[in-house]
């Protein structure tokens, strides 16, 4: 178990990088997912088709392929994802700014993939609002914006928050793939380094890395369970 003490800084650094990756991808996925959800429920057919196609493609392809596409496809499109080098942001998340694009590719791949699931969670939330609610809102003369703001979205949010949380948990777990796609110093990458390059014993490294991920996933899962239980009691 001495590896946990000797290489404590490696684990903490890996955890920190994974955490950054997750925050950035979560923000990206939520924004993009909301956009796709809006497209999917818009009254304009072409936008709806695009949204549906997006969800079908990304929900059904393995994350690995999405990742390969980000890593090989973006350079072919003449881009090293430099648009993510936003001045203020890359001073906080230092990995965004450096020359090697792998961290940016990781953020893009995770956001693109997770956005499809975010879209489905939001859409199922909106679908769970009974049509009568929106009809009543229209009948008393609320505009479309007011209808969304005061009637539909608050109720949709209620039933979407738990699925959204599970999507984010899944995303945190998926972020482990980054270590195998060249994001140096990330938690699962440090695991590889410690075991194969430095020859540290496997089980302690496994324990350390597991703690790094469980620290993020388990509290979030418990929080979701709480919310869900409260809902179940309230619904009774």
């Amino acid at each position: 178990m001495s590896v946990l003490v000797d290489h404590f800084d490696v684990f903490v650094g890996g955890f920190w990088l994974t955490f950054q990756l997750c925050i950035l991808s979560a923000v990206g996925a939520l924004a993009l997912g909301a956009l796709v959800a809006v497209m999917r429920i818009s009254p304009v057919p072409p936008l709806r088709w695009i949204g549906t196609a997006y969800v079908t493609v990304f929900r059904n392809s393995p994350l690995t392929i999405v990742w390969f596409f980000a890593a090989f496809g973006l350079p072919a499109l003449d881009s090293n994802a430099d648009f993510l080098r936003i001045p203020g942001l890359s001073s906080i998340f230092s990995r965004l700014g450096i020359d090697l694009p792998y961290f940016r590719f990781a953020v893009i791949a995770l956001s693109l993939y997770t956005a499809a699931f975010v879209c489905e969670a939001i859409r199922s939330g909106i679908n769970a609002v009974p049509p009568g609610q929106a009809e009543a809102a229209r009948a008393i003369g609320l505009t479309f914006g007011q209808n969304l703001r005061y009637v539909v979205l608050p109720q949709a949010w209620k039933s979407a928050v738990v699925p959204l949380g599970s999507v984010i948990i899944a995303m945190i777990k998926n972020s482990a793939l980054a270590g195998f796609f060249g994001v140096v110093g990330e938690l699962s990458n440090s695991a590889q380094n410690l075991t194969s390059a430095l020859g540290e014993p496997i089980i302690p490294v496994f324990v350390g890395v597991s703690i790094g991920y469980l620290v993020m996933t388990v509290p979030l899962g418990i929080l979701l369970d709480r919310i869900e239980q409260r809902r179940a009691v309230a619904a009774r």
Binding site: T56, N60, L63, A128, K173
Partner: protein, 333 residues
């Protein structure tokens, strides 16, 4: 589709129709422009659309076409073998774990009245301990990335002196640990979501607690949770692609070899991705079909935890853990 339309919008009148049409036209033009300038042009300029890159994949007259597809076919067979084995074993493991956890839960409630005090306390302590251990394992392996599980299974097992020979088995074990635990939780929440009367009736006609689980609860849980189970199977199929990190020769690894020789990563991954999407799409359609049949055939199933007041959002209250299947038309409470 049409359902959410009625949630948010009135049925469009002539003016709304006109507006929709105009916006649609603009949208089509905009999308086409984005597609042309941001995707097609750069791809074309970088020579990604030439027959040199695509030929080996789409042109049967190309000299490497049969070779490439033979490799891809082998890769997909390897992927499907691993996925099939992983699905089978995680179903078995998951069912066993679900039964175990339900049994332990009933065991925890037993007081062992007939036995002398110390023995009763010991048995209760044992039941509590086993319950805690299984719960702990479930939480751990559910919270870990499956990549990490696979990676460490593949490196730890040979380290501990367990040599399985083929890399396939490490992948299958890694996938089974994660997905088995998830399936166990799905089945367990299905069993716990059943009306209490099912269990009581089984006890009343003299079933033991194991018989109750096996013959009454489990079949119903499978049936209710079928859509969730099928989506989990899609997850297994997708996760099989992670085999490349432990150098299992599945389709992505094989594509890598092809790419090393032909240098056309985008094209190969596009084709492989399309095949993956097709398979998974069909599977998810199957899940939807199962869900529809479930909702149609079993309207009378009443899940007490689901019985929300019908006026406020009847589908929104998630009953039990994730028992959200079927409209609770005939709820009793």
């Amino acid at each position: 589709m049409s359902q959410q339309q009625t949630v948010l919008y009135d049925a469009p009148g002539p003016r709304a129709h006109r507006i929709t049409l105009i916006v649609s036209l603009f949208a089509v033009v905009g999308i086409a422009a984005v597609g042309y300038f941001l995707v097609y042009r750069p791809l074309d300029e970088n020579g990604q659309l030439t027959m040199e890159k695509w030929g080996p994949l789409v042109d049967p007259n190309n000299e490497v076409f049969p070779l490439v597809w033979a490799r891809l076919r082998d890769g997909f067979i390897a992927t499907l073998t691993a996925a099939g084995l992983a699905i089978l074993s995680s179903l078995i493991f998951g069912t066993a774990l679900a039964v175990l956890r339900v049994q332990l839960k009933t065991l925890k409630q037993r007081r062992f009245v007939g036995l002398p005090d110390p023995a009763a306390w010991a048995l209760r302590g044992l039941g509590w301990l086993l319950n805690a251990v299984t719960r702990f394992c479930v939480e751990i392996f559910r919270g870990l990335p499956v990549v990490i599980t696979i990676f460490f299974v593949a490196s730890a097992l040979p380290d501990l002196g367990v040599d399985l020979g083929d890399i396939l088995w490490y992948l299958v074990i890694g996938l089974t640990i994660y997905n088995g635990v998830v399936i166990a939780e799905i089945l367990r929440s299905g069993m716990e979501g059943l009306p209490g009367g099912q269990r009581e009736a089984a006890h009343a006609i003299g079933f033991s607690s194991f018989q109750t689980t096996r013959m009454i609860l489990l079949p119903q849980a499978f049936r209710i949770m079928l859509p969730a189970l099928i989506s989990q199977l899609i997850v297994v199929l997708k996760d099989t692609s992670l085999g490349f990190i432990i150098s299992y020769e599945e389709v992505l690894r094989v594509s890598r070899y092809i790419i090393d020789n032909l240098e056309n990563p985008i094209q190969v991954y596009a084709v492989v991705g399309a095949i993956y999407i097709l398979i998974n799409y069909l599977l998810s359609k199957l899940a939807e079909y199962a869900q529809r049949r479930m909702a149609r055939g079993r309207k009378t199933r009443a899940l007490p935890t689901q019985a929300a007041p019908p006026s406020i959002m009847p589908q929104a209250g998630p009953g039990g853990a994730s028992v959200g299947v079927g409209a609770d038309a005939g709820s009793t409470t």
